[in-house]
Symmetry: D2
Amino acid sequence: MEPTGLWLIGARGSVATTAIAGLLALRARVVEPTGCVSALPRFSDLGLPGWEELHVGGHDIADLALDKRAELLTDAGVIPHRVFEAVRPALSEVDSELRPGYHPATNPGSQADAARRLADDIGEFAARNGLARVVVVNVSSTEPVFPALPEHGTLAALEAAMAVPGRTVLPPSSVAAYAALRAGCPFVDFTPSTGIRLAALEELAAVKGLPYAGSDGKTGETLVRSTLAPMFAARALHVRSWSGTNLLGGGDGLTLADAEHAGSKLASKGRGLATLLGGDVTSPLHIDNVPDLGEQKIAWDHVSFEGFLGARMSLQFTWSGYDSALAAPLVLDLARFAALAHRRGESGPIGALGFFFKDPMGTEEHRLAEQFAALTAWAEAR
Amino acid sequence: MEPTGLWLIGARGSVATTAIAGLLALRARVVEPTGCVSALPRFSDLGLPGWEELHVGGHDIADLALDKRAELLTDAGVIPHRVFEAVRPALSEVDSELRPGYHPATNPGSQADAARRLADDIGEFAARNGLARVVVVNVSSTEPVFPALPEHGTLAALEAAMAVPGRTVLPPSSVAAYAALRAGCPFVDFTPSTGIRLAALEELAAVKGLPYAGSDGKTGETLVRSTLAPMFAARALHVRSWSGTNLLGGGDGLTLADAEHAGSKLASKGRGLATLLGGDVTSPLHIDNVPDLGEQKIAWDHVSFEGFLGARMSLQFTWSGYDSALAAPLVLDLARFAALAHRRGESGPIGALGFFFKDPMGTEEHRLAEQFAALTAWAEAR
Amino acid sequence: MEPTGLWLIGARGSVATTAIAGLLALRARVVEPTGCVSALPRFSDLGLPGWEELHVGGHDIADLALDKRAELLTDAGVIPHRVFEAVRPALSEVDSELRPGYHPATNPGSQADAARRLADDIGEFAARNGLARVVVVNVSSTEPVFPALPEHGTLAALEAAMAVPGRTVLPPSSVAAYAALRAGCPFVDFTPSTGIRLAALEELAAVKGLPYAGSDGKTGETLVRSTLAPMFAARALHVRSWSGTNLLGGGDGLTLADAEHAGSKLASKGRGLATLLGGDVTSPLHIDNVPDLGEQKIAWDHVSFEGFLGARMSLQFTWSGYDSALAAPLVLDLARFAALAHRRGESGPIGALGFFFKDPMGTEEHRLAEQFAALTAWAEAR
Amino acid sequence: MEPTGLWLIGARGSVATTAIAGLLALRARVVEPTGCVSALPRFSDLGLPGWEELHVGGHDIADLALDKRAELLTDAGVIPHRVFEAVRPALSEVDSELRPGYHPATNPGSQADAARRLADDIGEFAARNGLARVVVVNVSSTEPVFPALPEHGTLAALEAAMAVPGRTVLPPSSVAAYAALRAGCPFVDFTPSTGIRLAALEELAAVKGLPYAGSDGKTGETLVRSTLAPMFAARALHVRSWSGTNLLGGGDGLTLADAEHAGSKLASKGRGLATLLGGDVTSPLHIDNVPDLGEQKIAWDHVSFEGFLGARMSLQFTWSGYDSALAAPLVLDLARFAALAHRRGESGPIGALGFFFKDPMGTEEHRLAEQFAALTAWAEAR
């Protein structure tokens, strides 16, 4: 494929840094593409952009140098020492493509002005690198729930409100989505933040004829849930309760254990389970901040189910993973698949990418196997 | 559908007794068909035999009365008290349809004679009850591995050997399969015993134009494995080891913990995992006899896998179930689906029933979601 | 020992009913005293009251007959059918010794009046049955946290306030404790409610020369925690976080998942862990109401710890128990040991009974093995 | 204390290398003594040899340089990078104190000659470094079970047999123990190999007036078992089965999964459980070699127990640790405590060190809390 851009919102975070370091390592052929769905043999003939053809830039409100961030992830066990050593120089090059992100506190002007600046950053990145297209992927920290406003209903109303200096009509993730669309870029939301999920922004995507995908990357507990729940359904076993506890360290733990933030994440997790099993299942869910776990994420689920003649049985599982290591390859996958959708001229939500998300847009399918079949069928169409 | 017979080999065992008691309870409308796949709404228009249309008979070498067996299962927590009370009288009626099974030690004549007697039992059962067809399902105890013999290669050679008085050319499960086919019945093997899996018997099924299915009901650990393993494959995650331990009480625990018997069961379990993940996975597996667990079965699996940049992660699960409660509804399902295949005039192994088995015949598919899709497509064809 | 009374506050609840049914079954010699610490051989020479010498009465605000309650517990799997059948008639006899409990909403007079009535009930029970002493044990539902009041500081201030009609100066558990002491009875608090833990009530116990014990029976997760935590300490392993989730059905789940109620329970659980490990441990803890679990209680704990050279390791456990079956024998134990203390003329908190409690009074020792050693030494003294 | 030697049998193995690297890191004050029991405050006044006073030497049949071995352990996550960098030069110095170990295949002369050479090595080490005493600790690979021979009965018979050229009357661990005693050194066996556990060698220890301790370091599953089992006993709960599975990578996994080798290890594990719970407990136990786990060791235990009125309950735990990180600090502890015993003039098995062992010599106590109390009492005596 042609040279393609991957523009990361939250480019200095753990997920982004792991994705960038991994891409550089793949390019240097010092690692295998383990965990990269798009590198499965069945997707090899689609003309997806190769590792050498993906160019990375991005926005972030933090300013820690990428190689410093990568060093922290190396100490935390996410990036192996030898990989870090191999990609360290190239990380500094990517650093030069990163620009300051948008945050209301530090951008006193209108949101329209801010969005214009963000879109210009992306446009210059594309021009500077001779890119055929740029996919924008949001991997920034989960936002608190943003209140619904009437101005979110139409593009005209939204843009009028955005033009008012000092007015905060959109959360940062939606400003980023707006800027991406204005710059003519497909937008992917890897977080549960509002992002593109406003009528006004979907209208803009339609006007511009752009594809988008989201939301909330499915990397751990929910991945397993969307795999196991269909088993109970197919076997006519009656799930009576499905209880879950998540232990997270790192910045994510801190962000999500906060009640308001967790609101969006828990809702996103809960939506899938209800769809998979029907709405009558007791399903308490917790997210705890356990700093000593660092980048590790541990989830315990207990499923109580009823079988023939009312027999009471249970399944419990413990998932122990590194969130950034699980998310990073999917970010690369989404950049490649969204680029494919854009090249094919698709517009609107790409339901076939629901495979990657806890709360998929453009589809009601939450079952993992069926999602994978849909992804494959979509990718191989044409 | 027309009146249909379900002939159980091992009709006085835990699985059979639970299936019989459950069928009677369904007929009496005192329970819901939880755990019955064939009772899912999507299969309601196929004309499967209703609970009232299924008549049960069977063979067993034991002679404990069905209601006594059911009482033991009630004490063990598999059958609820109120269900037992509701079906107790009807159990005695079914008892009158059970006949002595075949065992080499108690049948000193030729295996041909024995098979003839077994086939006659089935034929008389069909005639007595005016049945359109009888499905024979083997749910007897797992046999030790039976050595391969040249006589198993062709029907002619097999029948010649069977005619020799005192010669044991077949294990009991295969004598039962032979008798079923000779009686013109579809045969289903719910155990990992040899059963119909001999060239000579497959030849006989072809000659008689009969369908068959098997083998080894997928009720617990393997059910979960065939659900989870495709998740790792679809996400390009590299499974490095998959270790398993099974704790069983009851007769099954005693039978299977014995090394020779376990041979067939472990082989059957292992075959699926290798197919699902490729052959290079370390996968130690144990079956332990833990009598105090009674009818309960507990399995612990530990999956070690590698993700992006070599990140080492793990998933472990503990399954706690009642084996008979998991198996019994599938026995009813298989009787109904095999009756459908027979009515449709199908012959040979029914690969679409692989959904129910650890070691499916007639298909190489081990992934549960794909198996369910195949079952649905097959059932809805025509 | 002489005839001894066991007066239960919350006598119609799950724990009390199981204790009563169990005592009757022990008396009828249809069960072994499994789970009864006081029945261990080492305590056989202390002259503890025998099963035949323990007479049961109690208070409860509910009025469901004991045999009905026991039937529900039988259906829930806590009491075996054969035990229920054996003790059913005797349950009705105990029923005749139960009296209406105190609740502010149904007792419009002064709390002094209410307490007098409660004490009279106990006194008449003792007289009617010719009892040498009566031990009062609180097993009623956990109360919401009751605010501290100045009147709790001295007996004089408290009694003055209690005499004011319509004034609620004490929660029900403390009214019960006051009544017990006024009736000359040792008091044991098996719940985390306020009970006797007020300066004024401790003053009353001292004045009357009565022993007491509590609080909050240690039956599940905390039992395991107080066993495991000392292992880490003795091995100089540094526990970094200890996370816990409790899934409860039954009335307890409903009561405790309510935030306010859980306050007292979670505080009680947390206090022990901090003492065992030092105060710097991250220890998120949840209690979820999962109705389908019924009487079952499932706890999952994840312990993250650091070893030599900073090695990061973990221990997780899943406890699956029946809360009433765990608590009931301890109620009988406490009645017997408290009777011993009373006979010996002890006064004040019995620290040696800390073995039985999450939040022990009269001792700072939380380590189970050390608590057991202290219990044994105390019991064998003299 | 005076300068003290720690002579390691198997000095280039994982446990020894971790112990050596850790000692050097403690001396350099770059780590805390986490996991070192002897560094607990309560043992600070005993005059145990300080980290600076411990000098290390040893035997090994392998010849991989210590710093290479340490580098492998660093890659495996057992030794942190910064620790490795800090101790690398000092590791090479220790390397100069290591000597070739004994193995029958490479020592064609008599075992008496071999033992003399080993004892000389230790003596020269002590002289070279001006050591007051040397403690010999066996941390070499677990041996296959060695057959009992009549010559093991008395020292005279043993030494006569050892003098015969080419005769293998002792396994290597016992040759090492013999040499240690002949060199006047206390001997500690951290493995389940035969070591000093022969009447002839115990006779030699008595003759020489030397203390010894063992055997088989209690570092993981058994540590937890010896902590939890007394809980069930103290609570009068009846354990019905205790099932265990161990997953090991590294050389240990390979050695122990081999049936013959596992014999000694499994026996050693089983002995403790039977003592703790009584002999009637079903307790299947497996050790599996799972190479991808590397230095990690994962154990799953399932305990089925019965409570009041026959209630069936369970506890399961999963232990995930680094075996070398768990064992290494105990090796340092044992060197220090054995040095104390020697300084005090003790002779024979030191039962008070049973705290450290799966199969303790000189005591029948297996309960961890009681073992710790015994250790403390012993250490503080005098």
